[in-house]
């Protein structure tokens, strides 16, 4: 299964991502999930970025919160648009999940 997961919270209280074992995993950071891409907690990048996955962050939600693409702390996170999300869902993944 090729799964793309939308992460919309900064503080994760469940380990759903640990339990998913797709052959291909994409993680799209949206809403308050964008803080995983921009904020370091006590100098440490978010552990959410440790998965073997392709990472994306929604540009609109970054800018809403006062960030730009240059604020993304990890180069493996790609800044994308709403249109890019549609392309990813239709072309690269079989299923999507909102976490």
């Amino acid at each position: 299964m090729k799964l793309v997961a939308f992460v919309s919270d900064y503080r994760m209280t469940v380990d759903t991502l640990d339990r998913l074992k797709p052959e291909k995993l994409g993680i799209i950071l949206v809403q308050n999930g964008v803080y995983h891409a921009t904020v370091k907690d006590k100098g440490n990048p978010s552990p959410l970025l440790d998965y073997s996955a392709d990472y994306y962050v929604l540009k609109d939600d970054l800018e809403t919160r006062g960030y730009t693409a240059s604020d993304v702390v990890n180069s493996k996170v790609k800044v994308i648009s709403f249109g890019d999300i549609v392309d990813l869902m239709f072309n690269d993944y079989d299923k999507s999940a909102w976490i």
């Binding site: 939600d61 809403t64 919160r65 006062g66």
Partner: protein, 137 residues
């Protein structure tokens, strides 16, 4: 003559829920209750951003441009315009790698005299002890 002191404590990041912005709108609205008060009575409102709530204070928010939504930043500026005391926890700013340069500090463009104060958590605790009512968001 009595003064009722309200303390609004924001501890969650903004936008995904309206919750943090409601703290600001409630604090701002508290300054329009004069008609319901006895002469000489006052309601004051202090606002403190702690924990993840400090992320609400990031400047250059483009909420209006992206979602046609008033930004939390603009609400903070409105609070300053009304001379509300706005505090941001210094330790929590540092925790998330932010400095005063990263956050909204003033609302000069609106003619506000008040500025956001970045203070140690101990000072926010002191403020909370002085309040009659504390509201957590």
């Amino acid at each position: 003559m009595a003064t009722t002191k309200l303390g609004f404590i924001v501890q969650r990041p903004g936008y995904k829920s309206e919750n943090p912005k409601l703290a600001l709108t409630h604090a701002i609205a508290s300054q329009s209750v004069e008609i319901y008060l006895n002469e000489g009575d006052l309601v004051t409102a202090d606002i403190a951003f702690i924990g993840e709530g400090v992320l609400n204070c990031k400047k250059d928010q483009k909420a209006m441009e992206t979602y046609d939504l008033s930004s939390t930043e603009s609400h903070i500026k409105m609070a300053l315009l009304l001379d509300l005391n706005v505090l941001v926890c210094r330790e929590d700013l540092e925790r998330y790698g932010m400095t005063e340069n990263d956050i909204v500090i003033d609302a000069e463009e609106f003619g506000a005299d008040m500025t956001v104060k970045v203070v140690p958590y101990a000072e926010i605790t002191k403020m909370m002890e002085e309040m009659n009512h504390l509201l957590f968001f």
